[in-house]
């Protein structure tokens, strides 16, 4: 009887998972505030600089440059679409939040790619890393973003940096996975040919694997941009500036018009970026 009771007690005792994580986060904050601050500073600097660059010329010049880029990357119809879309944003006076959003997205995407693509490459070559990263990536892709807003907030405080970090966590999985997939799918006979002619590891990577994986990597970049955009409003909840802010405000003051205008801004920037950097 006593034994059964023991087992029942054991089964009903809650595993203190929550407090473990809490302790772990606290431990990190207490012991690694130096490097974390350094990282935060770099990100802040990046966002500020991107924003300053985008805000420096007259908005019309920026729009013209974007249209030109769209023409170069795709075709003239795309450039007309880009010009009209961005012009509308300027007209409804969402230009400044748009630039802030754009700056943080560029930062998030750059950070995600700089970290993600090399991880994808390593993952494709190393079985152990592959096995370790797999559950972590699943975790990152499926856990609701709100859950890691709190630790991000604790690490980096209220503001754009936390928003960027949360965005990176959310958007980094596709570039890692698609880089990995792209390299995996390169024909093994091609790699054999590389080895047969005496290519070293770097030559195989740069001349055979990465060019072969390029379509897949491009898709990863596109997905990364899109996921970053979908974090705009959520990031605003922890103080990130940009288009998310007016959306949140419109929620709290029930301003349908403002909500729609800001929301439209997000849609337009999403479409512009997707069409420009996506594959047909």
């Amino acid at each position: 009887m006593i034994k059964v009771n023991n087992i029942i007690q054991l089964l009903t005792t809650k595993i203190p998972l929550g407090s473990w994580v809490e302790n772990f986060v606290n431990y990190l904050i207490n012991n690694f505030s130096g490097p974390l601050d350094g990282f935060a500073n770099i990100i802040e600097l990046m966002v500020e600089n991107f924003e300053a660059i985008l805000a420096y010329p007259h908005p019309l010049i920026v729009i013209a440059l974007f249209a030109l880029l769209a023409w170069k990357l795709k075709n003239y119809r795309m450039s007309i679409f880009v010009a009209l879309g961005l012009g509308l944003v300027l007209n409804i006076q969402m230009w400044d939040p748009l630039l802030t959003t754009l700056a943080s997205i560029i930062t998030s995407v750059v950070v995600a790619l700089v970290i993600g693509i090399p991880i994808g490459i390593i993952k494709a070559h190393n079985r152990v890393i592959d096995l370790i990263t797999r559950p972590i990536l699943d975790f990152m892709q499926t856990i609701p973003p709100f859950v890691y807003l709190i630790p991000a907030l604790m690490f980096f405080g209220l503001g754009t940096v936390s928003g960027v970090i949360a965005t990176v966590v959310f958007a980094i999985a596709p570039p890692i996975r698609l880089t990995y997939l792209g390299i995996q799918q390169v024909d093994s006979e091609l790699k054999e040919a590389g080895h047969a002619f005496g290519a070293n590891w770097w030559q195989i990577l740069l001349k055979i694997e990465l060019p072969g994986a390029m379509p897949s990597i491009m898709m990863g970049i596109n997905q990364c941009i899109m996921l970053s955009l979908s974090m705009v409003v959520i990031a605003a909840m922890i103080g990130a500036g940009g288009l998310g802010k007016p959306v949140l405000r419109s929620l709290s003051v029930v301003d349908i018009g403002l909500g729609f205008e800001a929301g439209l801004g997000v849609v337009i920037i999403a479409m512009v970026l997707d069409r420009m950097f996506g594959r047909e």
């Binding site: 006979e189 040919a193 080895h195 047969a196 002619f197 005496g198 060019p211 072969g212």
Partner: protein, 398 residues
């Protein structure tokens, strides 16, 4: 000393190669090892020598381990145990960097599915080996262009692989291997993915190139015809073992076991060629109303020393030789053109090659092939018969 000496080479795929090796040494078969040990035997105790400058063909059905064996030689696949000596150097002793250097200067490799990089042009693909070696750009291009010329692809440099046919892709593969000027060419079923006509053309191309530059070639195939055509010596593999090594004669006449016999028999049956298989269309014909001058003109135009004469229904009337035509034109005699038409022996379409040989041996003109109505179907040139007999003659006695 051979160029390449392989002795007691084993390759076992699986987690317990040592155990598998013991089993093999105790006389277990590939199947038994797989069942009891879970390991797949790729190469089982292979020993052979390749002489400098010869074409050594390794032949076997798919799954016989021939590709594995080839890849062991430049260690694309790491052998389990054994010894591979190239120019007396033990390849298995090399560390990674030495091996890389060795592959760079010693081997050129050609792959079954071409293994061309789709994002690179023909020139850039063929340049790959030289690029890996960091050869200076000008020389790199010069040597690559030479190699492309050799394989008959001059002017195709700017195309992408996707724009080429299979035969041309493999030419690029061949050019890529030749561009690095390797001592040894490793060819892994290079022509298996090509259709028969292109395959033949590529085999001839390879033989031409071989005559020009005399390299050591290790050639893998599952096709005995190809092996006989290209190989100076042939090794036959089965279940990872080399079961016979020898030249054509030895392989075809002294098949050492049933497996080789089956191989050879199979070929024998498919190779009973008849007159209609090897005949070709006559380039030019004479008609009864043609005179000596027309005959001479037609002969000169086509570089022929004789012409067949047929009537409108293409019935064979005979043959006219150039000496007689010239005599007739030069002589004052009042001789008719008809008189110089000579009789000739004929072949039937179903007649087989060996019978034809006796007919054509002392004939100094092509052999006409006619049907039962004496209608001309085609002609057979002596060289055609000889070429086809050369590879078949070896097993006449069987």
């Amino acid at each position: 000393m051979g160029k390449v000496e392989v002795s007691n080479l084993y390759k076992i795929f699986g987690n317990k190669p040592k155990k598998a090796l013991e089993m093999l040494n105790d006389g277990a078969t590939k199947q038994e090892v797989l069942e009891k040990n879970g390991s797949t035997v790729g190469v089982n105790d292979a020993s052979f020598e390749v002489e400098e400058g010869e074409i050594f063909v390794i032949m076997g059905l798919s799954g016989s381990g021939k590709s594995t064996l080839l890849r062991c030689i430049n260690r694309l696949i790491e052998p389990t145990t054994g010894s591979i000596k190239v120019d007396g150097q033990e390849v298995l002793d090399f560390d990674t960097e030495e091996l890389r250097k060795f592959r760079e200067k010693e081997f050129g490799m050609v792959f079954q599915n071409f293994a061309l990089l789709p994002h690179r042009t023909v020139l850039e693909n063929a340049m790959f080996g030289l690029e890996i070696q960091n050869i200076e750009k000008g020389e790199r291009e010069r040597r690559t262009k030479e190699a492309l010329d050799l394989v008959g692809l001059d002017g195709w440099g700017d195309q992408y692989p996707a724009q080429l046919s299979g035969g041309m892709k493999q030419r690029v593969g061949l050019a890529r291997a030749l561009a690095v000027d390797p001592e040894i060419l490793l060819m892994d079923e290079p022509f298996s993915a090509l259709d028969p006509l292109i395959k033949k053309e590529m085999q001839n191309k390879l033989l031409d190139l071989y005559d020009e530059m005399q390299r050591t070639i290790l050639f893998i195939t599952h096709d005995l015809d190809e092996a006989l055509k290209l190989g100076d010596r042939i090794a036959i593999m089965k279940e990872g073992k080399i079961i016979q090594v020898g030249d054509h004669e030895e392989i075809l006449t002294n098949a050492t076991n049933e497996y080789v016999e089956n191989f050879v028999e199979d070929v024998n049956r498919s190779r009973i060629l008849t007159a209609k298989d090897i005949m070709s269309n006559p380039v030019e014909l004479l008609y009864p109303q043609d005179g000596p001058r027309t005959a001479l003109h037609k002969m000169k135009n086509n570089g022929l020393s004789s012409l067949f004469v047929v009537n409108r229904q293409k019935k064979l009337k005979g043959i006219v030789y150039i000496e007689d035509v010239v005599d007739l034109i030069n002589s004052d005699e009042d001789k008719e053109f008809k008189e110089i038409i000579k009789e000739i022996i004929r072949a039937e379409p179903e007649e087989n090659l060996r019978e034809l040989f006796s007919d054509i041996a002392d004939l100094n003109a092509p052999l006409p092939v006619v049907n039962e109505d004496d209608k001309l179907l085609g002609v057979i040139v002596k060289t055609d018969v000889l070429a086809n007999l050369a590879s078949e003659g070896a097993y006449d006695e069987n």
